[in-house]
């Protein structure tokens, strides 16, 4: 009904956090060259992965809702909002399906970040071993 709105809200917050983090990292790299030379994946890049997943999913799911006539181009934009019974069902769906969607994407993203850090660490260790041999 409107489950994608939960992910849309998360995406908006994460986008703002990502922009702030990007600015912070840029300032840090300008003031301290050691941080820039460190071989790690910047947090802003990791947050970008999450925003791409969230916004991408939101756009494609919004299209599905338009397809099924659940989202309309006139006020109140959600057909379920036209009567209280449907609205209550919509809020229940947002609280269950919507939250589960946002939670799964975030959980997958955390897994991706851990895996990416391990891959980078492994490649650095391999390079160090090759140079010391």
């Amino acid at each position: 009904m409107a489950c994608f709105l939960v992910s849309a809200a998360e995406a908006a917050v994460i986008t703002a956090v990502e922009k702030a983090e990007e600015k912070k990292e840029l300032k840090a790299s300008e003031s301290n060259t050691e941080i820039a030379e460190k071989v790690t994946i910047p947090m802003s890049r990791k947050l970008k992965w999450l925003t791409y997943m969230l916004w991408g999913g939101v756009v494609l799911l919004a299209f599905e809702h338009i397809w099924h006539g659940e989202v309309v181009p006139w006020f109140p934009f959600l057909t379920a909002m036209s009567n209280p019974g449907d609205a209550a069902e919509m809020f229940h769906e947002m609280a269950t399906v919507g939250v589960a969607m946002a939670a799964l994407i975030t959980a997958v993203w955390i897994g991706m970040c851990v895996a990416a850090d391990l891959i980078v660490k492994r490649s650095v260790q391999t390079a160090v071993q090759k140079t010391t041999m």
Partner: protein
């Protein structure tokens, strides 16, 4: 059907991204978009399965065709978003080169 088509699209894009020679095609955004949508539809499918049980796996032919058509439309929309972004950001400079070319 929509979930299946999106998952296939996500896997194909991931394989193409893995075999890329450079990052000029900006496949990452397409990859994340399809995986994000796939995960969201997976949750939708789980909740629907919890409600319908075995009936979930025996949809009516009409519903299946509609879902397949929706899945293909979703993939097309994702590809259109990606190609528009690619042309706007123009990482290879092809659009800029074409526009700055003098008429002979």
């Amino acid at each position: 059907m929509t979930l299946l088509i999106t998952v296939f699209a996500a896997v194909i894009v991931t394989v193409v991204w893995y075999n890329r020679k450079d990052d000029s095609m900006k496949l990452g955004i397409l990859l994340f978009m399809f995986w994000g949508a796939s995960l969201m539809w997976l949750i939708d499918a789980i909740f629907e399965y919890a409600e319908l049980k075995a009936e979930y796996f025996t949809p009516a032919i009409g519903d299946m065709i509609n879902d397949a058509f929706l899945g293909l439309s979703v993939v097309a929309l994702g590809l259109v978003i990606w190609v528009v972004r690619l042309l706007i950001t123009d990482p290879k400079g092809s659009v800029r080169a074409a526009l700055s070319k003098k008429n002979k």
